[in-house]
Amino acid sequence: MAMLEVNNINVYYGAIHAIKDISFCVEQGEIVTLIGANGAGKTTTLQTISGLLRSQTGSIVFEGQNISSTAAHKLVSHGLAQVPEGRRIFLQMTVEENLEMGAFTQPNAGIPQDLEMVFEQFPRLKERRRQVAGTLSGGEQQMLAMGRALMSHPKLLMLDEPSMGLAPILVEQIFEIIRNLNQNGSTILLVEQNAQMALSIAHRGYVLETGKVVTTGSGAELIQSPEIKRAYLGG
């Protein structure tokens, strides 16, 4: 049984049918990527898994448990964490407070140790721990959003366009970190418009078009597919 199984979900924004019967799965230890153009429904899918949006049909099963009607805030203790699109860090709180918020469901005793773990991964954050998050650069904010998610010790980490708006060198760095996290045992569901980068680190990928899964395959297969090359990889 897969760690995460998304079965036939349909999500609407009022009359807009944003997700049309999508199904996919993520196995323990994998990096799975959802790629697709702007508006394909990637963010909506992640928000639905996180419980911030609801599917009208189907089920979302995480580690054998149907979580499709579980309150969003309860999913964190099930082991789900999301780095949302646009980072959505708490701009008026300090770096350290943001990380503490990530550990909201964790016992207090472990927090100093987890902070050290995140600071080791992202030394920039340590230098700026007392700084208000709104003053960080885009790359630092992305690191903070990732560190914040890691504070809850997620079994499945979902990332929504972590490379958005970052300089190429930072994009490389972020993807390197994602790969490292995965090698250290994290299962990852990665949403990207940067299909090239995402497919190069993913075990498997799903291609979304206007709310539907149109193609699936291993990262290597998809990156070679002429169709994908034409539509998403710029040639």
């Binding site: 969003a72 646009g86 008026q92 709180m93």
Partner: protein, 300 residues
């Protein structure tokens, strides 16, 4: 010396506004709604304390505590029954509901306690022989300060410090700040937004009870509409200082109280409120987010 005495009165009235404004500002910051019924919770608190002390002969501290408990529960019930079902509704629908709740509370008070004005007892006295003293004099009797004034200003300071500490250092306080910035992201952290909003209403309403007792101790007439005007003034103070900001509520409240008293003394009581609101308009023209408010930044 009279100026000093006006200033002290202004600070005292301003402290009451500040305590009420905190309720408006915290609820606005987290639930993004104007709880127009907040002023009427003050009135309920004052009635509870009045009956506890005058009719049931309970000691004043018990009366105040009882008022706080009742208002806390009332605030949470109002939120749960009237506002929570409207979480996804337009802000206009919520505003109209809040005005409805305000009328509901006033009319309930009218039914329960009648429209007859009650004379609120002054608890803040010190027995001195056969008489009781309500205050003390400085500068050979040129400056009289009542104990209520002192208690009010001190209460405001203590509440301010306590809330600042609470939002800066406790888990719940930080969760509140997180919710006020981004409820979706807060949920992704595992924060229960419903609980957080409920706690915010509870704190705001407990403060309203304290404000009600202090208000009626200083201006001892109590009727079902007692909370309306101070409620509107405190709302003005919250906007003045920057709605959503805790230090803004303090600054806005104090300034408003001082301006109101000074305007009443030097310009005339008829123009008192006009001056208050004129100052508000000027401030909002220059600083649309209020004195200490943050300009809403576009999300990138």
């Amino acid at each position: 010396m009279t100026f000093l005495s006006y200033l002290i009165n202004g600070l005292s009235l301003g402290s009451i506004y500040a305590i009420i404004a905190l309720g408006y500002t915290m609820v606005y910051g987290i639930a993004k709604m104007l709880n127009f019924a907040h002023g009427d919770v003050i009135m309920v608190g004052a009635y509870i304390c009045f009956y506890a002390v005058s009719a049931y002969q309970l000691p004043p501290p018990v009366g105040i505590l009882l008022a706080m408990v009742v208002c806390t529960v009332l605030g949470m019930v109002i939120e749960r029954l009237a506002y929570k079902p409207l979480r996804q509704a337009t802000s206009l629908a919520v505003l109209i509901t809040a005005i409805g709740v305000s009328y509901f509370l006033q009319n309930s008070a009218l039914l329960l306690w009648s429209s007859t004005t009650k004379i609120f007892p002054n608890f803040f006295v010190i027995p001195r022989g056969a008489e009781t003293s309500t205050g003390f004099s400085l500068f050979d009797g040129q400056l009289n300060i009542s104990y209520v004034t002192v208690v009010t200003v001190l209460a405001c300071l203590v509440i301010m410090l306590a809330l600042t500490w609470f939002t800066g250092n406790t888990r719940m306080g930080k969760a509140m700040r997180a919710c006020s910035e981004d409820k979706g992201a807060a949920q992704l952290m595992g924060i229960n937004v419903d609980t957080t909003i409920s706690v915010t209403f509870a704190i705001g309403s407990a403060l309203a009870a304290i404000a009600g007792v202090l208000l009626c101790s200083a201006y001892p007439t109590l009727s079902p509409t007692t909370g309306s005007m101070p409620g509107i003034k405190a709302f003005t103070a919250a906007v003045f200082g920057g709605i959503g900001s805790i230090p803004g509520a303090l600054l806005g409240g104090l300034l408003l109280g001082v301006i109101e008293i000074l305007a009443g003394a030097y310009i005339g009581t008829q123009l008192q409120n006009a001056v208050v609101f004129a100052v508000l308009i000027v401030v909002l023209l220059v600083k649309p987010a209020g004195l200490l408010g943050r300009q809403i930044r576009e999300k990138v």
